[in-house]
Symmetry: C3
């Protein structure tokens, strides 16, 4: 049994977003079923929007029951271990950032497979990375993280551009992928740690 | 002129959700057009999401103008007779529950036709049943019924599982469908009557 | 280099909604990136929903990078010139109304190309016209303009019906298109100027 880089990325991304969804839903005190639904939607949201836009249907998670099982188990494990986790906010942030990096890479890659232009691949990666979180936050009735003041989607776009630069300089694709994922995750940490934000005050009217 | 079980289910579900949408929108005092839009969206929302996920496009309601006419007439009739209806809340609940049962069965069935695995068929049924209401509530700017404390989507899933159990024991498909629809409707009544809910307090952090 | 009427309509509609999205987002003081995203989503939202419903994928904007560049440049120019614009509300209204007329016509036309019935073409036009604004307002966490008290979607439907009447009386299609676009824009101005609304009070329960 051998896994490709893409499959490993997909599994890790699915797990990360399932955990982030579970935490976000628990913070809002949803019932267990609501928590599972939010975990599920967070985890498959980005890929579903991506597949719908590409017309690659039935969408990915419908074709492979394993991803659904993976989300279910991850969410249940997260609920079970929640008493051991003190810092909800930090945990939510870490897994959201990991999922962001992993899914952005995945979407970008699928854009390349479908023969889209590089700019569109970056857009598709950003959508794949961000939409799970957008749907999660919309359903939990809060302004999506992506629209709040810290830099969020920008990081995905920069990561996407970085990928094409790395590949342009003949870096091995697999290595470039790992670098991009680490870059997106690291940038998010830096952004939140130093409270970096784009100057919204600029728009004051 | 002969109707299949599926067609009868679809017509009844469409009517049920059109009524539930009309009531929800009237409660929020939308203008007549807003009411019609909400009725329409509630009624076709679940099936549209289902068809998009499956890639069965153009989506169902675009291919058959009759469903649109049915929704229009149902909504107008509901508006017209509203003075005779005292208990808005109860009426909304009854028709929402009927639509839930009917559309869950319909989605499950379409999953089978598309050759999805049983687990996916149950998921597709749940989505078909719940999404009309989710879109309705989101547009009306309230937390979707499905995420509030009472058991909602769980009922669809149990109904879906029940269907496969009944068919496994060689029950006639048409009879199994009727039983599942009645089960989902009945369960909703029991759940709301006795205020059953999954223990959200469990997640208090 | 020659442009068809449709292409001109599409370019103008894209610009109009990009401006309206930029203004709406600046009013909410989003960061520059949030502003660009809202501009983008407002501009491509209607067409994306239209293409998804028709199953015409990958959706339009993914196939032509020029529209993305057009939106980007329009949004940046709008941000740059914002100091020269005093009346945010009026500007937002004007461009939203222009986009509404242009995109309604575009959606209607695509429905005809796909061989839908006239009623469905009108619905598709209305969806194409309204959805960019609905997504914009939903993401900005306000009740969509289309559901507020003034007449909005009704105008698109009337415009759509007008188109088929004009064509029925053998008017040249291109002229009919221009008339319909002007009709929708003009109606919106009249509606807002004289505060026309459908009688929501009728539904008081």
């Amino acid at each position: 049994m051998h896994f490709s880089t893409s499959e490993i990325i997909e599994v890790l991304g699915t797990i990360s977003f399932a955990i982030s969804g579970t935490f976000a839903a628990m913070q809002k005190r949803l019932d267990p079923f609501g928590v599972l639904i939010i975990a599920f939607v967070t985890s498959i949201g980005g890929g579903t929007v991506r597949d719908l836009l590409l017309g690659d249907t039935p969408v990915a998670w419908m074709r492979d029951v394993n991803y659904c099982l993976l989300i279910l188990l991850t969410s249940l494990a997260t609920i079970y271990f929640k008493t051991h986790i003190k810092k909800f906010k930090v945990t939510l942030f870490v897994f959201d950032s990991m999922g962001l990096g992993l899914f952005t890479m995945l979407g970008l890659q699928k854009g390349i497979v479908f023969g889209l232009e590089p700019g569109m691949c970056v857009a598709l990666g950003t959508i794949t990375g961000c939409f799970g979180g957008i749907i999660r936050d919309t359903l939990l009735n809060q302004i999506p993280l992506v629209f709040r003041k810290e830099i969020y989607a920008t990081v995905c776009i920069l990561g996407g551009i970085l990928y094409f630069i790395l590949v342009y300089f003949n870096l091995k694709a697999d290595l470039a992928k790992v670098i991009v994922i680490a870059f997106i995750f690291g940038m998010r940490v830096v952004v939140v740690r130093y409270k970096l934000s784009l100057p919204a005050s600029y728009f004051r009217s």
